[in-house]
Subunit: 217 residues, 2 copies
């Protein structure tokens, strides 16, 4: 792996575990056993490094969007699509969890952050429209808009919220709790449930088989 | 006002505007035109100061709980109750918005934070049970539990999320946007809507009169 990519990966892991405020670029260089100068050759500031991670997130959202454009036909496909979106947000958990700190500290990152926010919102809107088009949801355009906004909040804030619940249990939080992901998905399904078309309601209300869950997380 | 209370108020405002990471106890003393020594006489560390604000939040939640125990009879009462809870979370917006930073930086605050988390969750559960008892919602105990959890996420994360949307618009974020509060309340009402009893549905679906909104925010 190229040094630049190794820096990005190390930073992503460190930010996830200890928060952006708790990690300096020198610590990242230390962890990788490279010199601070070498790191600064690739990213001349912490803000630059964060911005590069935002761009990675952008790319991943675009490839997620391509996947999510295939029509959903079965409850398993819906479940897997939601698992993918939660996993994407979990991978870049620092982005939404530490946003307040990052955007106050580095105002120059507000514009690239706004792009991420717009992309994730459009993705939620497309997701809801897609379920209506597939004949799974019955929702007029106002309801679709309200659902999309609610899901955007639920999906983008879930990982940070689940981290807080973990911290609230006064346990260590380095390990990602797979249960939190299942719970997040179930929350979204519960939100959609009243709008399922009667003819698919039974199929889409049954619990998802354990092997689908195991495959997804 | 006593010096101790003035310190708490100044810290609360500064944390809301600039985030916990962006405010030192010396800056708070500066803003109040008191000496750092005087501030440290009342709070010997930033963690102590945050803990004291947690206790203020605890107290406010308890008095909110007493208000919320009166049965809801009209859509206006429901709207006002939700406005109160959003305002409470907005007053202490730093608590949930900056939690990841605070709990990583000051692990000794995890236990008092856990108390806040438990109190707010119980408050959401009581809110849902209350609406069922008043004959407004029709929901079995599983649905009540799922609704309570969803509302807890929506209400505790809303203010931070609304701040991000503001930042996403690349505007300044010192002023609290009253529209965001109305939108947050509407999101909760939309979440509850499918579970309204048919006999109250029409009344509880009408838009809330502008004077109620004006009075509440």
């Amino acid at each position: 792996m190229k040094t630049r990519d190794r820096i990005l990966l190390t930073a992503l892991e460190a930010f996830s575990a200890r928060g952006v405020a708790g990690v300096s670029t020198n610590q990242i260089a230390d962890e990788m056993e490279i010199s601070p100068g070498n790191l600064h050759y690739h990213f001349n500031s912490k803000a630059e490094l964060i911005k590069a991670l935002y761009l990675c997130f952008n790319q991943d959202i675009l490839s997620y969007t391509r996947t999510s454009e295939r029509p959903v036909r079965t409850p398993q496909e819906l479940w897997l699509l939601l698992a993918l979106s939660f996993q994407l947000l979990a991978k870049y958990r620092f982005v939404f969890r530490d946003a307040s700190y990052v955007l106050n500290r580095y105002p120059e990152l507000r514009r690239p952050f706004a792009t991420l926010l717009r992309q994730t919102r459009e993705s939620s809107q497309r997701f809801c429209r897609g379920l209506v088009a597939s004949g799974i949801l019955d929702a007029d355009s106002d309801t679709q808009e309200a659902l999309a906004q609610g899901l955007h909040l639920q999906i983008t804030q879930w990982v940070g919220y689940a981290d807080l619940l973990q911290l609230g249990r006064v346990t260590h939080q380095d390990e990602q709790d797979p249960f939190a992901l299942v719970e997040g998905i179930n929350q979204v399904l519960h939100r959609l449930h009243p709008y399922l078309r009667p003819e698919v309601r039974e199929a889409f209300t049954k619990p998802v088989p354990a092997e689908v869950i195991k495959e997804a997380i």
